[in-house]
Amino acid sequence: MQRYSLAALLRHGLNGHRGWQANWGVEQPQASYDAIVIGGGGHGLATAYYLAENHGLRRVAVLEKGWIGGGNTGRNTTIIRSNYLFPESAAFYDFSVKLYEKLSRTLNYNIMFSQRGMILLAHSRHDMENVSRWASAMHLNGIDAEILDAARVKKLVPIIDASPSARIPIYGGMNQPRGGSARHDAVAWGYARAAAARGVDIVQNCEVLGFETAAGRISGVVTSKGTIAAPKVAIAVAGHSSALAAKAGIELPVNSYALQAFVSEPVKPMLDTVVLSPATGMYFSQSDKGELVIGGGLDLYASYAQRGNFPTVEKTVAAMVDMFPSVGRLRFMRQWAGIVDVVHDSSPIIDRTSVPGLYINCGWGTGGFKAIPAGGWTFAHTIAHDDPHPLAKPFGFARFTSGAMIDEAAAAGIAH
């Protein structure tokens, strides 16, 4: 791997930038691997990287049906936070934030993690009570959070309409100062480059069509580029998990929905944090290019169409224009959707499956970008040891029969 540094940039600059090498990718997969990861999103790529880096597996392939990062990883609004309510989630997501804090150095790739804080708005007395419960739960789990009054929200977010006549009143909120955003493509590319440097084959345009078994165990996959043998196969395909797992005869407790995002034309700096209004589902941040990156709630019916419908756009924009009147005349540049894999308790699944040698990482729903480092780390451990990583253990299939759900959706009202 060519290391990136200021010196390297200068050296290559003097040669007209003709000396840079391709970072990843092989056209044809080999006939067999020690482990195959299906899905070249953040979770699949991070899993392959940690399989090589933490567990010493060298003959690993990532099979991606399109291009790496072309699924939800490249479609998400990149909010990173660990403001969860329950100890299991707090431990998991804060581990992820801590890995993110070091990731640019770990991967020698600038993922542009900006810990600009993440502010949740409270629009009523009841919201304020909820926010104080929430912040207190975080404190008990050892995660920093501050409760904000309305004046402080106004100070941190000057463009907000916090006047007494505001249609959506601002009572205060909560801030997680270590929250923020990172560059989505860079997370995918950084993991891909570091994995490839450790011998992982990244094969794009390679769709997995089915599974092969021998004596009740997984023995390989059938792909659009031929059949490939492997004693361990790991699924990380987000919204397409149900469709793919069904080919191995496995049913999942997952529902697929479309989640949309929008980007405005670029403007001068107007917001240096992330704001989220759980009551309206609207949230946004400003990218380094100056665009407002805006998200909303789910289109609330099952969908595998990678496009959203207009009512969600309208609802999101209406809330935004009410709270931030100065954005009212901005134009949208782009709108898109990704298919997210939602589980009943809004918590992920990282586990073995009923087919020995077949593993799954899914259920990230609307919030799995922040979880990519921890998801990859714990999934790689689960695959290498054929036993769930301690942080991932609560997130297994057993909870759907034992009833030990980690019900973050109901408890925390987390919108994404």
């Binding site: 407790p253 099952a302 595998y304 419908n309 207009f310 034992s402």
Partner: protein, 93 residues
């Protein structure tokens, strides 16, 4: 915008409706004879097809009644609408 044909009110835009999820999910019973695995299958492990799905919708801001819709989850094309308690027509995909 999805357009749904309420059997009672006619064609209306999706903002008038709420989706209630899959239809024809049978509750197992009697309760004392149902195992944890059966409850789990009933509550959580239901098909999530990429293709035809039969689901319940409610005309929330219209007649307030529930009805069934068969819809393709990729194209969003509605292939049939039928009342609660009725059996769907067999679909030729």
């Amino acid at each position: 915008m999805l357009l749904l044909d309420c059997p009672f009110c006619g064609v209306r835009p999706e903002i008038e409706f709420a989706c209630g999820g899959r239809s024809h999910v049978q509750r197992p019973g009697p309760p004392e004879q149902v195992s944890d695995e059966q409850w789990s299958a009933y509550l959580f492990f239901q098909p999530n097809p990429k293709g035809l799905l039969r689901e319940r919708w409610r005309h929330v801001v219209g007649c307030g009644l529930w009805f069934n819709v068969e819809r393709d989850t990729v194209t969003h094309a509605v292939t049939q609408v039928y009342e609660m308690g009725a059996a769907p027509a067999e679909t030729t995909p």
